[in-house]
């Protein structure tokens, strides 16, 4: 990972047109990263629904880096690379933590409607949400880095936001 930008959330524009955010791999870093990326994407003309999808997916990806790649304890950095390929926004998230178990992304899981509320799992929802929100989700281990890439299409019809009354 590049090392010139050490201030949390600082933006660097690389020649290829990507915008790069470098952050400490902490819960605060996740909040800062999501907020800054959201601001950037808003300038790309994203709707509120697009922003919701991006903020939710990105927060879950970054949470995984903090909690799993760095174990919730190891100090480290993470990098968010955002590339505007309208109507798709491409994201690449890099870290130097542990690889994914078995070298692949877990599937994640949703709530089980057959079970009572208090019988549901307490975890597994993050990856499930990422998989629902993102397209072309890919994980790779390159040297000592993890890289997760995905795309989100602006202006998508999203079935979960339809008219289902709560």
């Amino acid at each position: 990972m590049a090392s010139e930008a050490r201030v949390p959330g600082i933006v660097a524009r690389v020649p290829e047109g990507e915008v790069v955010f470098q952050l400490p791999a902490t819960n605060e870093g996740v909040r800062t990263g999501v907020m800054n990326v959201s601001r950037l994407i808003r300038d790309f003309g994203a709707s509120e629904d697009d922003l919701t999808a991006i903020e939710l997916a990105l927060a879950e990806v970054l949470n995984n880096v903090v909690e799993h790649a760095y174990d919730g304890t190891v100090e480290g950095d993470m990098e968010i690379r955002v590339d505007n390929q309208a109507p798709d926004i491409h994201f690449r998230i890099l870290d130097s933590g542990r690889p994914m178990p078995n070298g692949r992304l877990p599937r994640g899981s949703a709530a089980d409607a057959e079970l009572e509320d208090f019988e549901q799992d307490e975890g597994g929802y993050g990856l499930y949400m990422i998989r629902q929100l993102a397209r072309k989700l890919r994980y790779s281990r390159e040297g000592h880095h993890n890289q997760l890439s995905f795309r989100i299409r602006l202006g998508s019809e999203r079935h979960w936001e339809s008219d289902v009354a709560l």
């Binding site: 939710l56 079970l115 993050g126 949400m129 936001e161 289902v164 709560l166």
Partner: protein
């Protein structure tokens, strides 16, 4: 973690006066709730009117609270922001938890229940 509780009839109402229940807040949220939901009335209504966003850690904390209060009592939610609703839909948690539009709906009998 700023939580305010109030009891009305058979209902313990807990308002989460925080903008987000995310990974940074989830553990404290769960721990603070633990003391508040002990030995209360049969229904616990979590008022999320001030909460703009939640993530999978926050959702896990809510499941943990359901486990805390056990099978004989019930946790219900009200006043979800659009973003919070989206998280409940995406994870299909909306099918297993009772969600009210507003606190008043949680407190008054359903119009078609008679």
């Amino acid at each position: 973690m700023n939580l305010m509780s109030d009891t009305q009839g058979d209902c313990l109402i807990i308002k989460v006066a925080e903008p987000r229940i995310d990974a940074a807040a989830a553990v404290e949220f769960k721990d603070s709730m633990r003391g508040m939901v002990e030995d209360g009335p049969g229904r616990v209504v979590l008022d999320l009117g001030d909460v703009d966003s939640i993530d999978s850690s926050g959702l896990g904390a809510i499941v943990a609270i359901m486990k805390m209060i056990g099978p004989d009592r019930k946790l219900e939610l009200c006043a979800l922001s659009n973003k919070v609703k989206t998280v409940f839909r995406l994870t299909r948690m909306d099918a297993v938890v009772t969600i009210h539009n507003a606190l008043e709906d949680a407190l008054s009998p359903l119009p078609h229940a008679s």
